[in-house]
């Protein structure tokens, strides 16, 4: 075989391998970046609604108690979530994380976070349910001094932790391990209507 031709094949082959490896790396990087942006956006959506709800706990509730139920995986509260929504009464809102796996995504770690909102609590049929995919959701409650409250009426601060993962893995290792992009939010909110 011609030496020049063989050398050309070797160099060309190396170049081809290099381009393929680069293309693979570029593809992974693109997938990771896209996954991360989508995941952050997913978390941002949940956080926007959650912050609005938490700041409205107890608002316009009249003489009723602010909290109906408060556990580490769920809480139900009274409060007027939106002004000028045509409803004079308070709304009933529930946030609850279930152990139900979310089949809407391919991520096997995703569980369902449910938000139930009823503008007219006297008519249960008006309840609207929203479902979100999360990896973890946890709620802690504190009284005005930062201690664990003895009863629901003592709750002034609500601390929420939300962890979400990308719907799809951004990388699958050779051993089959799938890596998901994670985004996290944790905040302790003092609801204005619970202070006084």
């Amino acid at each position: 075989m011609n030496l020049g031709l063989a050398t050309t094949y070797i160099i060309g082959g190396l170049m081809l391998l290099s381009i393929l490896a680069y293309n693979y790396s570029l593809f992974n990087s693109t997938v990771e970046t896209t996954s991360s942006v989508i995941t952050q956006s997913k978390l941002d959506n949940i956080v926007s609604i959650l912050q609005n709800d938490l700041n409205r706990i107890g608002y316009d509730r009249g003489i009723s108690d602010a909290f109906v139920m408060a556990e580490d995986s769920a809480f139900i509260f009274r409060g007027n979530i939106f002004d000028n929504d045509g409803s004079d009464d308070f709304d009933l809102v529930e946030w609850a994380v279930t152990s139900e796996l979310d089949t809407a995504t391919t991520n096997p770690n995703d569980i369902v976070l449910i938000r139930k909102w009823n503008q007219t609590p006297s008519i249960p049929a008006n309840e609207i349910e929203f479902r979100y995919s999360v990896r973890d959701f946890e709620v802690n409650y504190y009284d005005i001094d930062g201690n664990v409250p003895a009863q629901l009426d003592d709750i002034v601060q609500v601390e929420v932790e939300v962890l979400v993962e990308s719907n799809e893995p951004y990388l699958t290792k050779k051993d089959g391990t799938e890596l998901y992009y994670r985004s996290y939010w944790k905040r302790r909110i003092v609801a204005n209507n619970l202070i006084y």
């Binding site: 170049m15 952050q40 962890l163 944790k186 905040r187």
Partner: protein, 142 residues
């Protein structure tokens, strides 16, 4: 002579190809860093907001908590370093340096006393570190 020119062409092509790949890789690295930084900044802002939430809890009877010259001054021990673990199995850690101060705003208003609360939070998990400043005005009716 023809062989030498081929080698030169090939060398030039490889140099150009290398430049292109390096620049593209840099661009992607920069994008990844931006995404990570935005996550870190997100958490840093939350820490500053948490401090302000605690200021919201201060009631009129406890106004001295915002007076830097009083023994009850709530920011006397600041700056503080706070390590926070998070994640499903607490597998991640963030370190925040939180500084806060309060300053009385003398407006000469006999009915209202206002304090300017400045919160500064630094997260050194990324290089360069992420820093957030938040200002909150707390008012007390006399």
């Amino acid at each position: 002579m023809n062989d030498y020119s081929d080698v030169l062409y090939l060398t030039a092509a490889m140099v150009i190809y290398s430049f292109l790949t390096i620049n593209t890789s840099r661009s992607f690295l920069s994008t990844s860093e931006t995404v990570i930084r935005s996550d870190v900044e997100y958490r840093t802002i939350i820490r500053a907001q948490d401090v302000i939430e605690q200021v919201k809890l201060v009631q009129r009877a406890d106004e001295n908590m915002l007076n830097p010259n009083h023994i009850d001054y709530m920011f006397a021990g600041y700056p503080v370093t706070d390590r926070e673990t998070y994640g499903y199995n607490d597998e991640y850690t963030d370190t925040f340096i939180i500084d806060a101060s309060s300053e009385y705003i003398d407006e000469g208003d006999p009915l209202v006393r206002r304090y300017k609360i400045t919160v500064n939070v630094i997260n050194e998990e990324v290089d360069p570190s992420t820093e957030v400043d938040l200002i909150f005005i707390k008012s007390f009716e006399r």
